[in-house]
């Protein structure tokens, strides 16, 4: 502003020669939903990040203790490969955790006014006239997928008929494609785009936990052979803490990995499993499963890397249509379950309680960790003036 003042005071300077750098508005700044964005739209997370920081702290803390106390001894007395492999595993855990937490889970952008109006028209045409005083029928579209009838629900917030397997996350206030669950430990939803990173995170974290736990024991045993047990503990106090953390982590993370492995072999999401979409006699069979364990695994883990359809880094122009912000969104019907333990899927349906408890228990103790001093890697590389789909993370 000071520079503009300066220009005004000198009448012969061309007013169009503005010296103040113009700040471009990128699309992420105007996106509806309750996400937070960092690094100018490259990083996308949920609003509450407290548990995520805890995860980071636990992982980095435990690994630091391991590198400080156990690795020097084991590297010398057993093999240098031990700390090397630990470092590699630690870095892998960090990388996939960051990817899970920072990437777009597969958010579906809300319908623009024209599209929303078109859909409304179609709905009204299909329903016909509703007698006064009666509730209109629920907005459902039936589609046939692989010879099974699947019902697509209408999302009142996003004003679209949700694609199959998509669900609306009330925490982030977005419809997410192939919605699995909202994970507070990674501070993000888990959906189509980041499910494999989430799975790899739980798998590698399980390995890391087992690894640290095993070598802690080995270290204590070896050291106790030279001196005695009490002296060993005194020399490496960190070991006790590590063993405790690993012990409790093991059960939850390994259990969670097992659960997701089971889901992957069936090509199901946590959401579908909890709602019992494909179980029960009167329900349809899972139309997305290839009925072949290997094919299901390949599709989920090695399938194509989907791009983000949410253009975050595109520049807003005057022509860019803005999604109308509703101060009071008519969100999807039934109340969400907010569990005190772990809000697994705060979603429109009340999940089956027992199933939720089972899923929530391992979820509760899963620890995503991140090194806070590691600079955030720019995960999106969108180039060009045109809003290109960004690289998936």
């Amino acid at each position: 502003m000071y520079n503009i003042w300066h220009i005004r005071s000198v009448p012969d300077i061309n007013m169009s020669a503005v010296m103040v750098p113009k700040k471009v508005t990128r699309k992420w700044e105007k996106l509806p939903g309750k996400n937070t964005f960092c690094c100018d739209g490259r990083v996308m997370m949920a609003r509450q990040k407290g548990v995520f920081y805890l995860t980071l702290f636990l992982i980095i803390g435990t690994c630091s203790l391991f590198f400080a106390f156990e690795c020097p001894y084991l590297g010398v007395h057993l093999s240098p490969a031990i700390p090397v492999f630990a470092v590699v595993l630690f870095l892998f855990v960090m990388a996939v955790l960051l990817r899970t937490s920072f990437s777009d889970p597969g958010v579906l952008p809300r319908a623009l006014p024209d599209e929303a109006a078109f859909i409304e028209m179609e709905i009204e045409a299909a329903i016909g006239s509703v007698p006064a005083g009666q509730r209109p029928p629920p907005r459902i579209r039936n589609v046939q997928i692989n010879n099974q009838i699947v019902k697509l629900k209408y999302c009142y917030t996003c004003k679209i008929f949700r694609p199959p397997r998509a669900s609306h996350c009330s925490i982030c206030d977005n419809c997410v494609d192939r919605f699995d669950h909202h994970c507070p430990w990674v501070g993000n939803c888990v959906g189509k785009r980041n499910y494999r990173y989430f799975y790899l995170f739980t798998l590698s974290l399980s390995l890391l936990t087992v690894y640290i736990f095993t070598f802690d024991i080995v270290h204590v045993v070896l050291r106790s052979l030279e001196s005695d047990f009490v002296t060993t503990i005194k020399e490496t106090p960190g070991t006790v803490l590590e063993v405790l953390i690993c012990f409790f982590t093991l059960w939850s993370v390994v259990g969670l990995t097992g659960f997701h492995t089971y889901l992957i072999t069936l090509n199901q999401t946590t959401n579908e499993d909890i709602k019992g979409s494909w179980t029960g006699k009167n329900r349809v069979q899972n139309p997305y499963s290839h009925r072949n364990v290997i094919k299901n695994c390949c599709e989920v883990l090695c399938g194509p890397a989907y791009p983000s359809v949410l253009d975050r880094r595109g520049v807003m122009t005057e022509e860019t249509p803005a999604v109308p912000q509703e101060p009071e969104a008519k969100s999807a019907p039934p109340p969400q379950t907010t569990r005190t333990t772990a809000p697994l899927i705060p979603n429109e349906h009340t999940p089956d309680d027992t199933k939720t408890k089972l899923a929530a228990a391992p979820e509760e103790e899963e620890k995503p960790h991140l090194p806070q001093d590691t600079p955030l890697p720019p995960l999106d590389t969108s180039a060009g003036p045109r809003p290109d789909p960004q690289s998936p993370q």
Partner: protein, 145 residues
């Protein structure tokens, strides 16, 4: 954006009469495919064959992008080995095909749709949910200013 000079002029001269949204076709699963049913609003503007040909080509391109085959598996495994850091510098197969699709749509707009006062919007700009076709009022000839 996906517009040439003449398209820009059409947009500035003509006003939007209507918009048609081609929905997704889920009969084969969650793969990105669009319905090829010819909407009635376009009957007066364009050939049914031409339209279906465009959509069929689009569907083929999306099928190519999402194909589960050797290439996607190699890409997936390689990426996994590098802890997905390779995506920071490499473009994925899907993105390469999306670029092809963008080019194809621009071509179709230039050659076929713009002269008829229509405009196809790339589905990626609508979250891969719909193919939006804008129908302009039939008064300008679409020539340059």
């Amino acid at each position: 954006m996906a517009e040439t000079h003449s398209l820009q002029d059409i947009r500035q001269q003509a006003s939007v009469a209507a918009k048609v949204f081609i929905q997704r076709d889920y009969t084969n699963g969650t793969m990105c495919q669009f319905q090829t049913k010819f909407p009635s609003e376009l009957e007066s503007r364009i050939d049914k064959q031409q339209f279906e040909e465009t959509l069929r080509m689009l569907n083929n391109l999306y099928a190519e992008a999402e194909k589960l085959g050797g290439q996607s598996y190699v890409e997936g495994c390689l990426a996994c080995l590098t802890a997905y850091t390779i995506f920071l510098c490499m473009e994925t197969h899907y993105e390469k095909v999306l670029k092809k699709i963008a080019k194809y749509i621009q071509e179709q707009n230039d050659k076929i749709y713009a002269p008829r006062g229509l405009l196809l919007t790339d589905p990626i700009e609508r979250g891969l949910r719909v193919v939006e076709i804008t129908i302009f009022e039939d008064r300008s000839t679409g020539s340059g200013r």
